[in-house]
Amino acid sequence: MAVTDEIGERLRVAFAPRDLSVVDESERHRGHAGWRDGGETHFRVTIRAEAFAPMSRLQRHRAVHAALGSDLIGRIHALALEIEG
């Protein structure tokens, strides 16, 4: 499964978001540190879910990190997160 789909699936299962976008921005980072041929290194996630409403910024990010898992996060180079409750 492509990493983009994997990220999307894990977040959907964990948070049932009303809004979710996972964008592979690797091409924009071509040649930068961490970039590799074939992409799937730099991602931007925008997610809106009720579950985040009571959480602080740090808690929101930690919840997303936990849902993705250290194995998946370890495989990518960069993850930009925009999280709303």
Binding site: H29, H32, A33, G34, R57, L58, H61, R62, H65, S70, I73, G74, A78, L79, A80, L81, E82
Partner: protein, 122 residues
């Protein structure tokens, strides 16, 4: 033993310095866009901070991730407290929360410069 040393070293660094940025590269020469952005904000706001280049020390690079329970770099600490990474610092800069944090913690910064960043990104 190495892991303990890294944890001790990190604890000491964030206790002894008001503002510490764990980053890839240095504030003068960042090696990553995300690190560069946070260092740039702090520089622009005239905040005095210590930069720790995680690329120069593999133990610290892994150690800070374990210490903060946070998988990515950069990581900003203010008065020993973990603030967040690039996304959180950016959001807090634009919302004014970073100003509030610095004010609460007694960290000197240039309010006018912070307002300029917000005006430019409005």
């Amino acid at each position: 033993m190495t892991a303990t040393t890294a944890q001790d070293q990190i604890r000491e660094t964030i206790e002894k310095n008001d503002v510490v940025l764990y980053m890839k590269g240095t504030k003068a020469m960042p090696q990553c866009g995300f690190s560069s952005r946070v260092a740039g904000v702090l520089n622009y706001m005239g905040v005095e901070f210590v930069d720790v280049n995680v690329l120069a020390d593999a133990d610290i690079r892994q150690g800070i991730k374990d210490f903060s329970d946070w998988p990515t770099i950069p990581q900003l600490y203010v008065k020993g407290e973990f603030v967040g990474g690039c996304d959180i610092v950016t959001e807090m800069t634009l919302s004014g929360e970073l100003d509030q944090l610095f004010e609460t913690k007694g960290v000197t910064f240039d309010k006018a410069a912070a307002d300029k960043i917000r005006a430019a990104n409005a």
